[in-house]
Amino acid sequence: MLRLDLPVYATFSLLAGPVMYVTGFRDLRIRRMIENTPTARIRSMAMGLVEVQGAVLERSQIAAPFSGNRCAYWEVDIAVRSNRRNGWVTVHRRSSGQPFFVDDGTGLALVYPEGSQCRVPSGSEEECQGFGLPDCYESYMAEQNLWQRHLWRLSGMRFRERMLVEGQHVFILGSAEPRAQSSDIANPEDGLTPEHAVPWIEPDLEATGTDGAVTSAPRVPGLSVVPAAAMLRAGSLGAGQATDAFAASGAVPGLTWARDGARVSVRSQDPAAPLVPLPGPARLRALQSRVSAVIRRGTNDPTFLISAESMTAVETSLALSTLGKLIGGVMLTLFGLGFWLMWLSAHNLSR
Protein backbone atom coordinates (compact mmCIF):
# COMPACT_ATOMS: atom_id res chain seq x y z
CA MET A 1 0.00 0.00 0.00
CA LEU A 2 1.25 3.47 -0.91
CA ARG A 3 2.23 5.63 2.03
CA LEU A 4 0.59 9.05 1.91
CA ASP A 5 3.80 10.82 2.91
CA LEU A 6 5.74 9.69 -0.12
CA PRO A 7 3.82 11.61 -2.84
CA VAL A 8 4.16 14.77 -0.75
CA TYR A 9 7.89 14.26 -0.29
CA ALA A 10 8.34 13.33 -3.96
CA THR A 11 6.49 16.46 -5.17
CA PHE A 12 8.45 18.60 -2.75
CA SER A 13 11.72 17.03 -3.92
CA LEU A 14 10.84 17.52 -7.57
CA LEU A 15 10.15 21.22 -6.99
CA ALA A 16 12.89 21.93 -4.45
CA GLY A 17 15.66 20.01 -6.23
CA PRO A 18 16.09 22.37 -9.22
CA VAL A 19 15.76 25.40 -6.92
CA MET A 20 18.49 24.01 -4.68
CA TYR A 21 20.64 23.32 -7.74
CA VAL A 22 20.29 26.93 -8.92
CA THR A 23 21.03 28.34 -5.45
CA GLY A 24 24.20 26.20 -5.46
CA PHE A 25 25.38 28.23 -8.45
CA ARG A 26 24.46 31.45 -6.63
CA ASP A 27 26.69 30.42 -3.71
CA LEU A 28 29.45 29.57 -6.18
CA ARG A 29 29.11 33.06 -7.67
CA ILE A 30 29.39 34.71 -4.23
CA ARG A 31 32.42 32.58 -3.40
CA ARG A 32 34.08 33.59 -6.66
CA MET A 33 33.28 37.21 -5.90
CA ILE A 34 34.97 36.98 -2.49
CA GLU A 35 38.00 35.28 -4.04
CA ASN A 36 38.26 37.87 -6.79
CA THR A 37 37.93 40.94 -4.60
CA PRO A 38 41.03 41.82 -2.59
CA THR A 39 40.51 43.39 0.81
CA ALA A 40 40.63 47.16 0.52
CA ARG A 41 41.77 49.70 3.08
CA ILE A 42 38.89 51.89 4.11
CA ARG A 43 40.77 55.20 3.87
CA SER A 44 41.55 54.67 0.20
CA MET A 45 38.89 52.30 -1.05
CA ALA A 46 37.29 53.07 -4.36
CA MET A 47 33.55 53.24 -4.77
CA GLY A 48 31.75 50.13 -6.02
CA LEU A 49 31.99 46.54 -4.83
CA VAL A 50 34.45 46.36 -1.94
CA GLU A 51 35.65 43.90 0.63
CA VAL A 52 36.71 45.29 3.98
CA GLN A 53 37.62 43.84 7.35
CA GLY A 54 37.60 45.66 10.63
CA ALA A 55 36.16 46.15 14.08
CA VAL A 56 32.56 47.13 14.71
CA LEU A 57 31.92 50.46 16.43
CA GLU A 58 28.48 51.43 17.63
CA ARG A 59 26.82 54.42 16.06
CA SER A 60 23.83 54.38 18.33
CA GLN A 61 23.17 52.30 21.39
CA ILE A 62 20.69 49.60 20.66
CA ALA A 63 19.56 46.77 22.86
CA ALA A 64 18.97 43.26 21.56
CA PRO A 65 15.24 42.53 21.86
CA PHE A 66 15.41 39.29 23.88
CA SER A 67 18.45 39.66 26.12
CA GLY A 68 18.49 43.45 26.34
CA ASN A 69 22.25 43.31 25.79
CA ARG A 70 23.87 46.31 24.22
CA CYS A 71 24.99 45.76 20.64
CA ALA A 72 25.60 47.39 17.28
CA TYR A 73 23.44 44.99 15.28
CA TRP A 74 21.06 42.18 16.15
CA GLU A 75 18.98 39.59 14.41
CA VAL A 76 16.38 37.32 15.92
CA ASP A 77 14.35 34.41 14.70
CA ILE A 78 11.47 32.48 16.14
CA ALA A 79 10.86 28.88 15.15
CA VAL A 80 8.13 26.42 16.06
CA ARG A 81 8.55 22.69 16.37
CA SER A 82 7.38 20.80 13.34
CA ASN A 83 5.74 17.43 14.08
CA ARG A 84 6.02 16.23 10.50
CA ARG A 85 9.74 16.77 10.07
CA ASN A 86 10.67 16.52 13.71
CA GLY A 87 12.60 19.78 13.36
CA TRP A 88 12.06 23.52 13.54
CA VAL A 89 10.25 25.79 11.11
CA THR A 90 11.26 29.44 11.24
CA VAL A 91 8.13 31.57 11.46
CA HIS A 92 9.56 34.99 12.18
CA ARG A 93 12.86 36.68 11.41
CA ARG A 94 13.87 40.25 12.07
CA SER A 95 17.05 42.28 12.28
CA SER A 96 18.01 45.76 13.36
CA GLY A 97 18.42 48.31 10.61
CA GLN A 98 20.55 50.81 12.53
CA PRO A 99 23.86 51.59 10.85
CA PHE A 100 27.16 50.98 12.57
CA PHE A 101 30.78 51.90 11.91
CA VAL A 102 33.59 49.61 10.83
CA ASP A 103 37.14 50.62 11.65
CA ASP A 104 40.06 48.87 9.95
CA GLY A 105 42.77 51.02 11.48
CA THR A 106 43.15 53.23 8.43
CA GLY A 107 39.66 54.70 8.32
CA LEU A 108 36.03 54.37 9.14
CA ALA A 109 33.08 53.25 7.04
CA LEU A 110 29.42 53.54 7.90
CA VAL A 111 27.59 50.27 7.26
CA TYR A 112 23.86 50.13 6.62
CA PRO A 113 23.00 46.48 7.33
CA GLU A 114 19.56 46.64 5.68
CA GLY A 115 19.25 43.89 3.08
CA SER A 116 22.48 42.15 4.04
CA GLN A 117 23.12 38.46 4.34
CA CYS A 118 24.47 38.49 7.86
CA ARG A 119 26.48 35.56 9.17
CA VAL A 120 26.79 35.99 12.90
CA PRO A 121 27.66 32.71 14.60
CA SER A 122 27.64 33.72 18.23
CA GLY A 123 24.38 34.25 20.04
CA SER A 124 21.86 32.81 22.40
CA GLU A 125 19.26 30.16 21.77
CA GLU A 126 16.43 29.03 24.01
CA GLU A 127 13.76 26.42 23.55
CA CYS A 128 10.55 26.84 25.53
CA GLN A 129 7.12 25.35 25.74
CA GLY A 130 4.54 27.60 24.11
CA PHE A 131 2.65 28.05 27.37
CA GLY A 132 4.55 29.87 30.03
CA LEU A 133 6.91 31.77 27.77
CA PRO A 134 9.36 34.10 29.51
CA ASP A 135 8.26 37.74 29.52
CA CYS A 136 10.97 38.93 27.13
CA TYR A 137 9.67 36.66 24.34
CA GLU A 138 6.02 37.26 25.10
CA SER A 139 6.43 41.04 25.13
CA TYR A 140 8.51 40.96 21.92
CA MET A 141 5.81 39.04 20.04
CA ALA A 142 3.12 41.36 21.37
CA GLU A 143 5.13 44.46 20.35
CA GLN A 144 5.59 43.08 16.86
CA ASN A 145 1.85 42.38 16.59
CA LEU A 146 2.53 38.77 15.65
CA TRP A 147 -1.10 37.63 15.75
CA GLN A 148 -0.11 34.04 14.90
CA ARG A 149 1.69 33.80 18.25
CA HIS A 150 -1.37 32.20 19.82
CA LEU A 151 -1.13 29.36 17.30
CA TRP A 152 2.64 29.06 17.65
CA ARG A 153 2.29 28.63 21.37
CA LEU A 154 0.46 25.35 20.85
CA SER A 155 3.80 23.69 20.16
CA GLY A 156 7.37 24.09 21.37
CA MET A 157 9.12 27.32 20.38
CA ARG A 158 12.73 28.25 19.79
CA PHE A 159 14.07 31.78 20.16
CA ARG A 160 17.44 32.70 18.71
CA GLU A 161 19.27 35.97 19.02
CA ARG A 162 22.55 36.93 17.38
CA MET A 163 24.45 40.15 17.78
CA LEU A 164 27.40 42.16 16.60
CA VAL A 165 28.94 43.95 19.52
CA GLU A 166 31.42 46.80 19.79
CA GLY A 167 34.94 45.69 18.92
CA GLN A 168 33.88 42.49 17.15
CA HIS A 169 35.86 41.74 13.99
CA VAL A 170 33.76 41.54 10.83
CA PHE A 171 34.27 40.84 7.18
CA ILE A 172 32.07 42.81 4.76
CA LEU A 173 31.46 42.46 1.04
CA GLY A 174 29.20 45.21 -0.23
CA SER A 175 28.87 48.33 -2.32
CA ALA A 176 30.76 51.41 -1.21
CA GLU A 177 29.21 54.76 -1.89
CA PRO A 178 30.47 58.25 -1.17
CA ARG A 179 29.59 59.57 2.23
CA ALA A 180 26.48 61.71 2.05
CA GLN A 181 27.17 65.33 2.85
CA SER A 182 24.28 65.68 5.24
CA SER A 183 23.88 66.75 8.81
CA ASP A 184 22.56 64.44 11.46
CA ILE A 185 19.15 65.63 12.52
CA ALA A 186 18.50 62.74 14.87
CA ASN A 187 19.54 63.15 18.46
CA PRO A 188 22.95 61.50 18.54
CA GLU A 189 22.43 60.48 22.10
CA ASP A 190 19.43 58.28 21.41
CA GLY A 191 21.33 55.56 23.15
CA LEU A 192 18.60 53.81 25.02
CA THR A 193 15.39 52.75 23.40
CA PRO A 194 11.95 54.12 24.21
CA GLU A 195 11.33 51.08 26.42
CA HIS A 196 13.55 52.81 28.95
CA ALA A 197 11.30 55.84 29.11
CA VAL A 198 10.59 57.35 32.51
CA PRO A 199 7.59 59.63 32.03
CA TRP A 200 7.65 61.38 35.41
CA ILE A 201 11.17 62.75 34.99
CA GLU A 202 10.29 64.40 31.67
CA PRO A 203 9.10 67.81 32.99
CA ASP A 204 12.40 68.40 34.80
CA LEU A 205 14.56 67.67 31.78
CA GLU A 206 15.33 69.48 28.62
CA ALA A 207 16.64 68.30 25.27
CA THR A 208 20.32 68.58 24.46
CA GLY A 209 22.08 71.12 22.36
CA THR A 210 25.53 70.60 20.95
CA ASP A 211 28.19 68.88 23.02
CA GLY A 212 25.89 68.20 25.88
CA ALA A 213 24.90 71.83 26.48
CA VAL A 214 21.37 71.88 27.81
CA THR A 215 19.06 74.11 25.81
CA SER A 216 15.37 74.78 25.89
CA ALA A 217 14.65 72.82 22.73
CA PRO A 218 11.41 70.83 22.52
CA ARG A 219 11.43 67.59 24.51
CA VAL A 220 11.44 64.19 22.89
CA PRO A 221 8.57 62.19 24.39
CA GLY A 222 9.53 58.84 25.78
CA LEU A 223 13.27 59.38 25.70
CA SER A 224 14.00 60.70 29.12
CA VAL A 225 17.32 58.94 29.39
CA VAL A 226 18.66 61.11 26.60
CA PRO A 227 18.30 64.47 28.34
CA ALA A 228 19.32 62.82 31.61
CA ALA A 229 22.64 61.85 30.07
CA ALA A 230 23.07 65.35 28.70
CA MET A 231 22.30 66.92 32.08
CA LEU A 232 24.80 64.63 33.74
CA ARG A 233 27.38 65.58 31.16
CA ALA A 234 26.62 69.25 31.67
CA GLY A 235 26.83 68.82 35.44
CA SER A 236 23.31 70.02 36.20
CA LEU A 237 22.30 66.58 37.48
CA GLY A 238 24.37 64.39 39.80
CA ALA A 239 25.00 60.70 39.13
CA GLY A 240 23.47 59.78 42.49
CA GLN A 241 20.41 61.94 41.82
CA ALA A 242 19.88 60.29 38.45
CA THR A 243 20.29 56.79 39.92
CA ASP A 244 17.85 57.52 42.73
CA ALA A 245 15.36 59.20 40.45
CA PHE A 246 15.29 56.36 37.96
CA ALA A 247 15.11 53.76 40.73
CA ALA A 248 12.23 55.60 42.38
CA SER A 249 10.29 55.71 39.15
CA GLY A 250 10.28 51.92 39.05
CA ALA A 251 10.25 52.00 35.27
CA VAL A 252 13.90 51.03 34.85
CA PRO A 253 14.99 49.15 37.97
CA GLY A 254 18.65 48.68 38.57
CA LEU A 255 19.81 51.53 36.34
CA THR A 256 23.00 53.01 37.82
CA TRP A 257 24.47 56.23 36.52
CA ALA A 258 28.04 57.45 36.80
CA ARG A 259 29.95 60.46 35.56
CA ASP A 260 33.67 60.87 35.14
CA GLY A 261 34.37 64.28 33.63
CA ALA A 262 32.54 64.40 30.31
CA ARG A 263 32.13 60.63 30.28
CA VAL A 264 28.69 59.43 31.31
CA SER A 265 28.12 55.75 31.97
CA VAL A 266 25.12 53.63 32.77
CA ARG A 267 24.72 50.11 34.09
CA SER A 268 21.38 48.41 33.63
CA GLN A 269 19.67 45.42 35.28
CA ASP A 270 22.55 43.30 36.50
CA PRO A 271 24.45 44.95 39.38
CA ALA A 272 27.56 42.97 38.44
CA ALA A 273 27.50 44.29 34.87
CA PRO A 274 30.20 46.83 34.00
CA LEU A 275 29.37 50.48 33.59
CA VAL A 276 29.05 51.18 29.89
CA PRO A 277 29.86 54.65 28.56
CA LEU A 278 27.07 56.40 26.71
CA PRO A 279 28.31 57.78 23.40
CA GLY A 280 28.03 61.50 23.50
CA PRO A 281 27.59 63.87 20.59
CA ALA A 282 31.30 64.75 20.57
CA ARG A 283 32.33 61.11 20.15
CA LEU A 284 29.75 60.58 17.45
CA ARG A 285 30.78 63.72 15.60
CA ALA A 286 34.43 62.67 15.79
CA LEU A 287 33.59 59.25 14.38
CA GLN A 288 31.28 60.72 11.76
CA SER A 289 33.99 63.07 10.55
CA ARG A 290 36.33 60.11 9.98
CA VAL A 291 33.84 58.24 7.81
CA SER A 292 35.32 57.75 4.35
CA ALA A 293 32.39 55.99 2.73
CA VAL A 294 29.10 54.25 3.24
CA ILE A 295 28.78 50.51 2.64
CA ARG A 296 25.36 49.14 1.81
CA ARG A 297 23.50 46.82 -0.52
CA GLY A 298 24.21 48.06 -4.02
CA THR A 299 21.64 48.81 -6.65
CA ASN A 300 23.62 47.25 -9.50
CA ASP A 301 25.16 44.42 -7.53
CA PRO A 302 22.92 43.30 -4.67
CA THR A 303 25.61 41.11 -3.08
CA PHE A 304 25.95 42.29 0.51
CA LEU A 305 27.54 40.04 3.07
CA ILE A 306 28.37 40.86 6.68
CA SER A 307 30.14 38.09 8.54
CA ALA A 308 31.65 37.74 11.96
CA GLU A 309 33.42 34.65 10.65
CA SER A 310 36.81 34.96 8.98
CA MET A 311 37.03 35.23 5.21
CA THR A 312 38.49 31.71 4.98
CA ALA A 313 35.62 30.31 7.06
CA VAL A 314 33.08 32.05 4.82
CA GLU A 315 34.78 30.72 1.68
CA THR A 316 34.92 27.18 3.07
CA SER A 317 31.31 27.28 4.15
CA LEU A 318 30.24 28.61 0.72
CA ALA A 319 32.27 25.89 -1.02
CA LEU A 320 30.61 23.18 1.07
CA SER A 321 27.21 24.75 0.59
CA THR A 322 27.76 24.89 -3.20
CA LEU A 323 28.77 21.25 -3.30
CA GLY A 324 25.92 20.17 -1.06
CA LYS A 325 23.32 22.12 -3.00
CA LEU A 326 24.52 20.93 -6.40
CA ILE A 327 24.60 17.28 -5.38
CA GLY A 328 21.53 17.53 -3.13
CA GLY A 329 19.55 19.32 -5.83
CA VAL A 330 20.26 16.53 -8.34
CA MET A 331 19.45 13.80 -5.80
CA LEU A 332 16.17 15.42 -4.76
CA THR A 333 15.07 15.93 -8.36
CA LEU A 334 15.93 12.36 -9.29
CA PHE A 335 14.08 11.02 -6.25
CA GLY A 336 10.95 13.05 -7.06
CA LEU A 337 11.10 12.23 -10.73
CA GLY A 338 11.76 8.53 -10.10
CA PHE A 339 8.84 8.27 -7.71
CA TRP A 340 6.32 9.88 -10.07
CA LEU A 341 7.59 7.95 -13.07
CA MET A 342 7.16 4.71 -11.15
CA TRP A 343 3.74 5.77 -9.96
CA LEU A 344 2.67 6.64 -13.50
CA SER A 345 4.08 3.38 -14.76
CA ALA A 346 2.22 1.39 -12.08
CA HIS A 347 -0.95 3.35 -12.77
CA ASN A 348 -0.79 2.53 -16.51
CA LEU A 349 -0.04 -1.14 -15.81
CA SER A 350 -3.02 -1.51 -13.53
CA ARG A 351 -5.28 -0.27 -16.32
Partner: protein, 192 residues
Amino acid sequence: MYIGEVIVAVLVLFLAIGTIGYALSIYNSLVALKNNIARSWANIDVLLKQRHDELPKLIKVCEGYMQHERAVFDKLGDARGALAQAQTVPQRADAENQLTRALGQFFAVAEAYPDLKANQSFLQLQARISELENHIADRREFYNDTVTTFNTRIQQIPDQYVAGWLSLSPHELFRVEEHDRDDVPIEFKLTA
Protein backbone atom coordinates in the same frame (compact mmCIF):
# COMPACT_ATOMS: atom_id res chain seq x y z
CA MET B 1 13.66 0.25 -18.58
CA TYR B 2 11.77 3.37 -19.62
CA ILE B 3 12.08 4.87 -16.16
CA GLY B 4 15.78 4.07 -15.99
CA GLU B 5 16.39 5.80 -19.30
CA VAL B 6 14.56 8.92 -18.18
CA ILE B 7 16.50 9.00 -14.90
CA VAL B 8 19.81 8.61 -16.72
CA ALA B 9 18.79 11.30 -19.23
CA VAL B 10 17.92 13.71 -16.42
CA LEU B 11 21.17 12.89 -14.63
CA VAL B 12 23.13 13.55 -17.82
CA LEU B 13 21.19 16.79 -18.29
CA PHE B 14 22.11 17.93 -14.77
CA LEU B 15 25.74 16.99 -15.32
CA ALA B 16 25.79 18.88 -18.61
CA ILE B 17 24.17 21.93 -17.02
CA GLY B 18 26.59 21.65 -14.10
CA THR B 19 29.63 21.41 -16.35
CA ILE B 20 28.53 24.27 -18.59
CA GLY B 21 27.53 26.33 -15.55
CA TYR B 22 30.88 25.74 -13.88
CA ALA B 23 32.79 26.59 -17.07
CA LEU B 24 30.71 29.74 -17.45
CA SER B 25 31.39 30.70 -13.83
CA ILE B 26 35.14 30.37 -14.49
CA TYR B 27 34.82 32.40 -17.69
CA ASN B 28 32.77 35.12 -16.00
CA SER B 29 35.05 35.27 -13.02
CA LEU B 30 38.18 35.61 -15.20
CA VAL B 31 36.50 38.36 -17.20
CA ALA B 32 35.49 40.08 -13.95
CA LEU B 33 39.06 39.79 -12.64
CA LYS B 34 40.47 41.21 -15.86
CA ASN B 35 38.10 44.15 -15.59
CA ASN B 36 38.95 44.53 -11.90
CA ILE B 37 42.60 45.02 -12.89
CA ALA B 38 41.62 47.74 -15.35
CA ARG B 39 39.38 49.29 -12.72
CA SER B 40 41.98 49.27 -9.97
CA TRP B 41 44.50 50.79 -12.39
CA ALA B 42 42.01 53.50 -13.32
CA ASN B 43 41.38 54.11 -9.61
CA ILE B 44 45.09 54.86 -9.14
CA ASP B 45 44.82 57.29 -12.04
CA VAL B 46 42.05 59.17 -10.26
CA LEU B 47 44.36 59.89 -7.35
CA LEU B 48 47.33 60.65 -9.60
CA LYS B 49 45.20 63.24 -11.36
CA GLN B 50 44.32 64.80 -8.01
CA ARG B 51 47.98 64.92 -7.03
CA HIS B 52 48.87 66.27 -10.46
CA ASP B 53 46.37 69.10 -9.92
CA GLU B 54 47.77 69.93 -6.49
CA LEU B 55 51.36 70.38 -7.73
CA PRO B 56 50.93 73.75 -9.52
CA LYS B 57 49.35 75.14 -6.35
CA LEU B 58 52.28 73.86 -4.31
CA ILE B 59 54.81 75.36 -6.72
CA LYS B 60 52.95 78.66 -6.71
CA VAL B 61 52.97 78.85 -2.92
CA CYS B 62 56.64 77.92 -2.65
CA GLU B 63 58.08 79.95 -5.55
CA GLY B 64 58.27 83.14 -3.57
CA TYR B 65 60.16 81.50 -0.70
CA MET B 66 62.45 79.13 -2.60
CA GLN B 67 63.75 81.35 -5.40
CA HIS B 68 67.21 79.80 -5.28
CA GLU B 69 66.03 76.20 -5.60
CA ARG B 70 65.46 76.15 -9.35
CA ALA B 71 66.79 72.56 -9.66
CA VAL B 72 64.16 71.17 -7.27
CA PHE B 73 61.34 72.90 -9.17
CA ASP B 74 62.74 71.64 -12.48
CA LYS B 75 62.86 68.05 -11.19
CA LEU B 76 59.27 68.32 -10.04
CA GLY B 77 58.19 69.76 -13.38
CA ASP B 78 60.05 67.04 -15.33
CA ALA B 79 58.54 64.26 -13.24
CA ARG B 80 55.08 65.73 -13.70
CA GLY B 81 55.60 65.92 -17.45
CA ALA B 82 56.89 62.32 -17.58
CA LEU B 83 53.83 61.12 -15.69
CA ALA B 84 51.50 62.88 -18.10
CA GLN B 85 53.18 61.15 -21.06
CA ALA B 86 53.46 57.65 -19.56
CA GLN B 87 51.22 55.05 -21.23
CA THR B 88 52.21 51.54 -20.12
CA VAL B 89 52.31 50.09 -16.61
CA PRO B 90 56.16 50.15 -16.32
CA GLN B 91 56.36 53.68 -17.76
CA ARG B 92 53.66 54.86 -15.40
CA ALA B 93 55.30 53.16 -12.43
CA ASP B 94 58.65 54.70 -13.34
CA ALA B 95 57.19 58.19 -13.75
CA GLU B 96 55.23 57.92 -10.57
CA ASN B 97 58.27 56.84 -8.60
CA GLN B 98 60.22 59.73 -10.12
CA LEU B 99 57.52 62.17 -9.02
CA THR B 100 57.37 60.68 -5.52
CA ARG B 101 61.16 61.08 -5.23
CA ALA B 102 61.01 64.64 -6.52
CA LEU B 103 58.29 65.48 -4.02
CA GLY B 104 60.30 63.93 -1.21
CA GLN B 105 63.31 66.08 -2.13
CA PHE B 106 61.10 69.13 -2.49
CA PHE B 107 59.67 68.76 1.00
CA ALA B 108 63.14 68.04 2.40
CA VAL B 109 64.47 71.26 0.87
CA ALA B 110 61.41 73.16 2.13
CA GLU B 111 62.42 72.23 5.68
CA ALA B 112 65.23 74.78 5.37
CA TYR B 113 62.75 77.64 4.92
CA PRO B 114 61.08 78.43 8.27
CA ASP B 115 58.87 81.13 6.74
CA LEU B 116 57.52 78.63 4.23
CA LYS B 117 56.94 76.04 6.95
CA ALA B 118 54.82 78.58 8.79
CA ASN B 119 52.69 79.26 5.74
CA GLN B 120 49.21 77.77 6.22
CA SER B 121 48.62 77.16 2.52
CA PHE B 122 51.89 75.25 2.30
CA LEU B 123 51.04 73.15 5.35
CA GLN B 124 47.62 72.34 3.96
CA LEU B 125 49.04 71.38 0.57
CA GLN B 126 51.76 69.29 2.19
CA ALA B 127 49.17 67.45 4.27
CA ARG B 128 46.93 66.96 1.26
CA ILE B 129 49.76 65.61 -0.90
CA SER B 130 50.97 63.31 1.89
CA GLU B 131 47.43 62.00 2.26
CA LEU B 132 47.21 61.43 -1.49
CA GLU B 133 50.57 59.63 -1.41
CA ASN B 134 49.25 57.24 1.24
CA HIS B 135 46.09 56.61 -0.75
CA ILE B 136 48.12 56.00 -3.93
CA ALA B 137 50.30 53.51 -2.04
CA ASP B 138 47.18 51.68 -0.79
CA ARG B 139 45.70 51.54 -4.26
CA ARG B 140 48.97 50.28 -5.74
CA GLU B 141 48.87 47.50 -3.18
CA PHE B 142 45.26 46.79 -4.09
CA TYR B 143 46.21 46.73 -7.78
CA ASN B 144 49.00 44.26 -7.03
CA ASP B 145 46.59 42.07 -5.03
CA THR B 146 44.16 42.02 -7.95
CA VAL B 147 46.91 41.22 -10.44
CA THR B 148 48.28 38.46 -8.19
CA THR B 149 44.82 36.90 -7.87
CA PHE B 150 44.41 37.05 -11.65
CA ASN B 151 47.88 35.65 -12.38
CA THR B 152 47.35 32.82 -9.89
CA ARG B 153 43.92 31.97 -11.24
CA ILE B 154 44.98 31.74 -14.88
CA GLN B 155 47.71 29.29 -13.92
CA GLN B 156 45.48 27.03 -11.83
CA ILE B 157 43.60 23.97 -13.07
CA PRO B 158 40.89 24.05 -14.45
CA ASP B 159 40.94 27.86 -14.90
CA GLN B 160 44.04 27.71 -17.11
CA TYR B 161 42.08 25.92 -19.86
CA VAL B 162 39.51 28.70 -20.00
CA ALA B 163 42.31 31.30 -19.73
CA GLY B 164 44.12 29.63 -22.64
CA TRP B 165 40.95 29.68 -24.68
CA LEU B 166 40.54 33.39 -23.88
CA SER B 167 44.27 33.99 -24.60
CA LEU B 168 44.74 35.62 -21.21
CA SER B 169 48.31 36.32 -20.19
CA PRO B 170 49.75 37.36 -16.81
CA HIS B 171 49.65 41.06 -15.99
CA GLU B 172 52.60 43.05 -14.70
CA LEU B 173 52.83 44.02 -11.07
CA PHE B 174 53.50 47.58 -10.02
CA ARG B 175 57.14 47.31 -8.92
CA VAL B 176 59.44 49.70 -7.11
CA GLU B 177 62.70 50.42 -8.87
CA GLU B 178 66.04 49.34 -7.44
CA HIS B 179 67.18 52.87 -6.55
CA ASP B 180 63.95 53.38 -4.57
CA ARG B 181 65.06 50.59 -2.26
CA ASP B 182 68.37 52.29 -1.47
CA ASP B 183 68.81 53.95 1.89
CA VAL B 184 68.31 57.68 1.84
CA PRO B 185 71.56 59.46 2.78
CA ILE B 186 70.99 61.77 5.70
CA GLU B 187 73.53 64.41 6.61
CA PHE B 188 73.52 66.33 9.85
CA LYS B 189 75.16 69.72 9.82
CA LEU B 190 76.39 71.00 13.12
CA THR B 191 76.13 74.74 13.59
CA ALA B 192 78.17 76.61 16.11
